[in-house]
Symmetry: C2
Subunit: 366 residues, 2 copies
């Protein structure tokens, strides 16, 4: 996987540059180490990423009409990142044209789609002709091994973010906690388990693409690698334990990572899974205290674990005072440290997590 330091990216997010459909684009802009030159979304052309992510100068990125407009920006881009997933998994024809034009212009293509662009004969031939690379982040590892029941190393602390739904910020929370841990002087590793995290971090496995028999084995191996890279290992979670479509991946992460502790991510105001295929069915979210207990019970079937904190995504609550009230109320309801680390900073929450994890009887000293 290419290092991101020298990448100058244009991100394709046509018609979908928003928090939900564009979560890959937002994640790479927010947390990646790439230079992002422009976002392509003709519906917001003339706009700026700051209107989504705030006034930080890092986010002063223009939203442009087209690839050719983006290619006019200096220094010139050397990569096109696919920032959205097409509904139904098939590439719209209009995207094919943009991708082919980017390859012809010598840009590498970075994709996290389930369908591998590098296996598409037209894209592959174009890349050879232009001496460009196609990187499919979701391509699974060749390693086909079931879990072996590995123990964590002495002195290692493994923390997994879990959630009450998908696409509510489990990766962002893990990255923000990693930042806080680094600032607190800790030896850390972030373990990417999805394509966006991998684009940001440069290593990892998109576990939702792994053959189900090998998910726990793949996660176990990822955590082993995380332990080689740091003492505090922050594992990005996926899906949710109660999700009608993705809970299998979630449990594979819980039982494959056997985390010492979990941080539950929740988005106050969300009451049911955004699960639009069959709008006549509703899948309400589980009540928090019950869901916390259930996570501990289910994790504990393989190895003891505790939910030591809640990380709230308060983006549905515009008013800051009101958001802080909701955080306090949920802290009260659950009896756990509670914060919105992405909105208000994660330093305080990280201190609480450290204290709680170090007190767990199943953490072994170095």
């Amino acid at each position: 996987m290419p290092a991101s330091a020298d990448r100058r990216l244009v991100i394709l997010a046509e018609g979908n540059f928003n928090y939900h459909n564009g979560k890959t684009a937002m994640g790479v802009i927010r947390f990646g180490r790439d230079t992002v030159l422009a976002v392509i979304d003709s519906e917001q052309a003339g706009g700026n990423v700051q209107s989504w992510l705030g006034d930080n100068p890092r986010f002063a990125i223009p939203i442009v009409e087209s690839l050719s407009e983006a290619l006019g920006i200096e220094p010139r881009a050397n990569g096109l990142m696919i920032g959205i997933a097409p509904t139904g998994g098939r590439l719209p024809d209009s995207w094919r044209e943009v991708i082919l034009a980017a390859i012809a212009a010598g840009l590498d293509v970075h994709s996290g789609l389930h369908s591998f662009l590098g296996d598409d004969p037209e894209f592959a031939a174009a890349a050879v002709a232009a001496d460009a690379s196609i990187v499919d982040y979701r391509r699974p590892p060749d390693r086909h091994e079931t879990a072996v029941g590995r123990r964590h190393g002495a002195g290692k602390r493994v923390i997994l973010t879990v959630g009450t739904d998908c696409a509510i910020g489990k990766m962002s929370v893990a990255l923000e906690l990693r930042r806080a841990a680094v600032e607190a002087g800790r030896s850390t590793a972030f373990v990417a388990t999805g394509q966006t995290g991998m684009m940001i971090e440069g290593w990892g496995v998109a576990v939702d693409r792994v053959i189900s028999d090998f998910v726990q084995g793949a996660v176990e191996e990822l955590v082993a690698e995380g332990e080689r890279r740091g003492d505090w290992v922050l594992v990005e979670g996926q899906g949710s334990l109660d999700h009608p479509a993705y809970s299998c991946v979630t449990l594979g992460l819980i039982h494959g990572a056997t985390p010492h502790a979990m941080v539950l991510v929740h988005k106050p105001g969300l009451t049911a899974h955004e699960f639009s295929h069959l709008p006549e069915r509703s899948f309400p979210l589980a009540p928090l205290p019950d869901f916390i207990r259930l996570h501990e019970q289910v994790a504990g079937l393989v190895a003891p674990s505790r939910v030591v904190a809640l990380a709230l995504n308060t983006s549905l609550i515009a008013d800051e005072v009101q958001a802080r009230e909701v955080i306090a109320a949920i802290g009260e309801e659950t009896g756990l440290p509670c914060a919105d680390p992405v909105r208000f900073g994660g330093d305080g929450l990280w201190r609480d997590i450290e204290t709680a994890v170090d007190a767990l009887p199943w953490v072994t000293p170095a």
Copy 2:
């Protein structure tokens, strides 16, 4: 997938014709509709399958030294079934020779291995030359869809077998209950979710081979097909919810099938997962009453379900009287109908299950 009615099989189980490593061989002999002419296992050559499965004339199948001995039996075999999985996933060289010899003799090859024999250039070329077929039962469907949250049809009852460990008889129990249901005059379907079940039934998906993101979608579609085939849909379970390596697949089945009811399969005497990779770690089985409750809680995160019966595999208890005492004691402990349907017949247990399922408030009448 070929119909099994006209298949005359030789089963390759070299060195492994036993309940654990040879569970595919045992399952196909016990429950399949194929004619099985011989089992190849040189370590038991001269023996007979009846010494494993009892005096039923169907099991009067010789265990032979070699393929050539098996090919001497009339009417001549037309298929070789791989009845075991090699440790580490790689085919031993000695098996390659047997498989190539079988193909050269015009036999089709039926395999449930993770590595697809049909993709092996040497096997594929040999099959073309001999006009033989290679059927890889674990080959996943092309369909790549996540679950949509489908409801069951009116009047349908979906029952999933779950278990306290892998390889303890979840498929056998589902097949025995299906037999009892058919004899009771019910419209039924057996949904195969593993390669052995597929070899027996002729359709299904090996869900442990499906990309994890699509497991629940694949299971949802399998159950929809089951509902087209019958009113009482018996779904074969996989793994166990507390298994360090396979729980991801198990939860994908629970949340993908959204069964109205579950039957928990347990093997009295087994106290820890047979999980030999790291013998210094022990993964004890969960206590039954807690584990029953947890299954209902976890299933209920997506759709209500109840464990309505226990199916015990008493094969570790040789004495029949003692086995029946254990069954009674576990029935007492759990307050649930309890039997060993494979050893002592499943008619009584099926009647109890029918009664319990029909009383569930979430079963919708036809």
